[in-house]
Structures are given as structure tokens and as C-alpha cells.
């Protein structure tokens, strides 16, 4: 009984911030010391798709950037990390992959800014995508570096001696065996890109208005209701991904 109570208390504790954000996004005229907002309305949510706020556009843009980065980086990280893991200079390449994390993303962005400006990528969506690759791609490589071991290598070789071409070994052995790791990596890279602020702000020079930038903008303007609504939108896709991960990755792992 106590265990169950503790479990529900823990879940409630995790959900409080989200409930609070939702409440704020639906409220208006909330003055101290009132416990709840004076007015409840869906007006803020209707405003999401209005051209004026541009939140709908920011949501779609953020989704496009994050999905557009997470999918290819996950696959590229899987492939490249394999070659690194089996190479003689494994340590060297891995140290290189850690390098972008020596600096904070904003400092990295400041270092890259001049090059992006010259290449006319500043303030452009492609510029932000490219800049985010500087941190997400090494992450993908580092993430998968532990996945490749002698057993995976032996399985790949076995598939080859059974008649599998390298492409077939990927499709029928390596990718299915690595499915859980691939999903987790995709999820984590999506999150890194989704919540990225420093690089996006500096390389995008404020013109590439992702949802994360919008939250900071509303917080800066002290518009708590809009900031809350944007916050709700911001946590929604990661929650969906978390649910998908739990449903398809952890459930499968648990069944084994």
C-alpha cells in the first residue's frame, strides 16, 4: 500500500509542472494572491494557429528541424560509429567526437558564427540545421560506440558466411538487433535538437524562430500565459516520443 502511495506521489510530483503549465496556458488575469487564474479560456490555444503569434509555424519548424536532424544523425551515427569502433584509431576518433562537448553550445556557436556568416548561412534554417549537426552527430557516434562489440562483429560475420551481403547483414541482423538503441538514440537526438537554444539563437540570429526560442521570448516579455502555452507545445512532442519509446522499446525489452 505504502509502495503504491509512494509511486502515485512520485508520478504526481512529475506531472505537477506540466499541470501547472497547462493551467497557465488556459488562464487569464491571474493576480497575486489568487490561487487560480480569474478567467479560464481557450483563447490562447486558438491563438496558436493565428498568424500573429506564429506559434503554429514555430511548432512545425521545430518539428521539421528536430526530425530532420534526429533521423539522419541516428542512422549516420550507427554506421560511422561501427567503423570507428572497429578501427585501429578508435580512441583518436572518439576523442575527436567528444571535442564539441568541451565547449558550451553557445561558445561553440560563437566560434562558428564567422564561418556561417561568410557562407551566408546565418539567419537561415539550413544554417541552424548544420550548426546543430556539430553537436548531434558526435553525440550519435558516442552513443553507439558502446553498441559495437566482438559479439556484434561475430554476428555480422556469421551473416556474411551464411550468404548475406553487407547490406543484408544491416537490414536483417544489425538494425533489428540494434532497434532499441536506434530508437533511444533517435529520441535523445530529437530532444537535444528540440530544446537547443544557444546555437539556434546565435546562428539563426533570432530569425529562425523555433519553439524553444519562442518560450524564451515570451519569458523575456513577461507574458506568462503565452510562455506557458508555448511550454505546453514544447513538452508535447517529447512526451509523445517518450510514450512511443515506452510502448515499443521498453515493452519489447521487458518481454525478453
Amino acid at each position: 500500500m505504502a509502495k503504491r502511495l509512494l509511486k502515485y506521489a512520485f508520478i504526481a510530483l512529475l506531472l505537477v509542472p506540466f499541470g501547472f503549465l497547462l493551467m497557465l496556458s488556459l488562464g487569464r488575469g491571474w493576480a497575486y494572491p489568487e490561487v487560480f487564474p480569474r478567467q479560464w479560456t481557450l483563447e490562447n490555444w486558438h491563438f496558436v494557429w493565428g498568424a500573429q503569434a506564429g506559434l503554429g509555424r514555430s511548432t512545425l519548424l521545430s518539428l521539421a528541424i528536430s526530425l530532420g536532424i534526429a533521423a539522419p544523425v541516428t542512422l549516420a551515427g550507427f554506421w560511422v560509429s561501427k567503423h570507428i569502433a572497429y578501427s585501429r584509431r578508435r580512441r583518436f576518433w572518439l576523442v575527436l567526437a567528444y571535442l564539441p562537448y568541451v565547449l558550451a553550445p553557445a561558445v561553440l556557436a560563437a566560434c562558428l558564427q564567422a564561418f556561417f556568416f561568410r557562407a551566408e548561412l546565418s539567419g537561415k534554417v539550413w544554417g541552424v540545421v548544420l550548426a546543430q549537426l556539430f553537436i548531434t552527430f558526435p553525440y550519435g557516434v558516442i552513443f553507439f560506440s558502446g553498441f559495437w562489440n566482438e559479439q556484434m562483429r561475430a554476428m555480422e560475420q556469421l551473416a556474411a558466411t551464411l550468404g548475406g551481403r553487407p547490406r543484408q547483414a544491416y537490414a536483417r541482423v544489425l538494425i533489428p538487433v540494434g532497434r532499441g538503441a536506434l530508437m533511444t538514440c533517435f529520441f535523445q537526438i530529437f530532444l537535444i535538437s528540440w530544446f537547443e537554444y544557444g546555437l539556434t539563437m546565435l546562428i539563426g540570429v533570432g530569425k529562425v524562430q523555433t519553439l524553444t526560442l519562442k518560450v524564451f521570448q515570451y519569458v523575456g516579455e513577461a507574458n506568462i500565459f503565452f510562455a506557458a502555452l508555448t511550454g505546453c507545445l514544447l513538452v508535447l512532442p517529447p512526451l509523445v516520443l517518450l510514450w512511443l519509446n515506452k510502448r515499443y522499446v521498453f515493452a519489447r525489452a521487458g518481454a525478453r
Partner: protein, 238 residues
């Protein structure tokens, strides 16, 4: 001659792993190769399978030079010490793996796999996932998977090394039986003297990268370097 390896040499860095290793394997013969850990047995098998490249020397299969051929074109299956069943496939699909790669008709796959599972004593385990099988059952599925593709040569790298004594003995019997009924041509690598004598119709001894293949078992027993005499003396003296 089905398989022929001529003067195979291999270095890893400064270490010389194989020194002019040569062997000939006629159709239907099981050649045991006895050797200590690090003597170069595994490297030789991997070179024959195309998983490692030799520094020098040639490999011929049915008279064709296959030295430069990738492993998936050789039809030589390499079996590891671990069964290495694919964890996302059940026993049936593991056995069917190579057949699916060859895009055989579903009916043919069903028939072949069930026949193999039957001969390996596993028909009731077809739907089980690898983690639901015992060590011996896993190794049988691994054999089935290899036999399904009808390899020209089967390379067995200490396949019973991870099994307990009892299971090992029954697996040795099973392999001998299926090797006979499926007319398997193979190389059986082991560091166990008794196993080498039991499994091979001829025996080779690998020492420090040098391979000596004996004419027959008597010649192997007669050579002091194999340690058979010492073993006999030990047991006679008890």
C-alpha cells in the same frame, strides 16, 4: 580436392600468427585441428571463410582460387564457439535465415527448416526465442542454420567450448551423426585432444602458426609432439 589452402601466412603487427600453413580437404572429410589457444587455429579458419585476409598464400575451393572472394560468395560457413543465434528471431527463423537471404519460396523454406529441426531433435522448440533455449539446444539451432544453406565446407571453431561436459559429449555424438547423414566436409578446431581424435577422420596439429596434417590417426598418435603418448602413459600408470 574440395578445399585446398597453400602456404597461408599472416602477421598481426610484429606477431607471426600463421607460417606457411597448408592443408587439403577432400569431399566428405572432417579434419580436426588440434592446437593451444593463440596457435593460429581461428585465424586460419577465418582466412578460409574470407573473414580475414592472408598476407600470402592461396585458397582454392573445387579448384577455383577464392582467395579474393568476399565471405558471402564462398558458401563456406564459419561457426563460432558461441551459437550466436540472432536474438530477434525464433528458432525456426534462425534456421531459415540463410534460405531467406537466398529468397527461396516460402513452401520450400518451411519444408527444409522443419526437416532440419526434426533431424536435430528440435521440432517442438521451433517457435521459441533464443533466450528460451538451453545451451545445447542453441548450438543445435546454430548447426541447423548452417546446414540449411548446404555449405560446401563447414568451419567449426571450438563449437562445444562453452558447453558442460555432458552436453558436450551428446553434441559431439550429434555432430558426428549429422556429419555422416548430411555428408559434411568440415574443419573442426579444438584444443581438446580427445575431441580432436573423436571428431576428425584425420587430424592436424597447429603449433606456433605451423600446421602439420597427419596421414591418419596412427601417425598422429605416434608423433610425440601431439601429446597422445603422454596421455596414454598417464592413464596406464594410474
Amino acid at each position: 580436392m574440395l578445399l585446398q589452402a597453400i602456404d597461408i601466412a599472416k602477421h598481426f603487427g610484429r606477431e607471426e600468427i600463421l607460417r606457411s600453413a597448408s592443408l587439403e580437404l577432400p569431399q566428405g572429410e572432417m579434419l580436426s585441428i588440434l592446437g593451444r589457444s593463440g596457435s593460429g587455429k581461428t585465424t586460419l579458419l577465418k582466412i578460409l571463410a574470407g573473414l580475414e585476409s592472408a598476407d600470402s598464400g592461396r585458397v582454392f575451393l573445387e579448384g577455383r582460387d577464392i582467395s579474393g572472394q568476399p565471405p558471402h560468395r564462398r558458401n563456406i560457413v564459419y561457426l563460432y564457439q558461441e551459437p550466436l543465434l540472432f536474438p530477434h528471431l525464433n528458432a525456426f527463423e534462425n534456421v531459415a535465415f540463410g534460405l531467406r537471404l537466398r529468397r527461396l519460396p516460402e513452401g520450400e523454406i518451411f519444408q527444409k527448416v522443419n526437416r532440419l529441426l526434426e533431424s536435430l531433435g528440435l521440432p517442438e522448440h521451433a517457435a521459441k526465442m533464443p533466450h528460451q533455449l538451453s545451451g545445447g539446444q542453441r548450438q543445435r539451432v546454430a548447426f541447423g542454420r548452417a546446414l540449411a544453406v548446404q555449405p560446401k565446407v563447414l568451419l567449426l571453431d571450438e563449437p562445444f567450448g562453452a558447453l558442460d561436459t555432458e552436453t558436450r559429449a551428446s553434441m559431439q555424438q550429434l555432430l558426428k551423426q549429422i556429419a555422416g547423414s548430411f555428408h559434411i566436409t568440415g574443419l573442426f578446431v579444438t584444443h581438446d585432444l580427445k575431441e580432436a581424435i573423436l571428431m576428425g577422420s584425420r587430424i592436424g596439429l597447429m603449433q606456433e602458426g605451423r600446421l602439420k596434417v597427419y596421414e591418419d590417426k596412427q601417425a598422429f598418435i605416434a608423433d610425440a609432439a601431439t601429446g597422445v603418448r603422454q596421455e596414454i602413459d598417464f592413464w596406464s600408470g594410474l
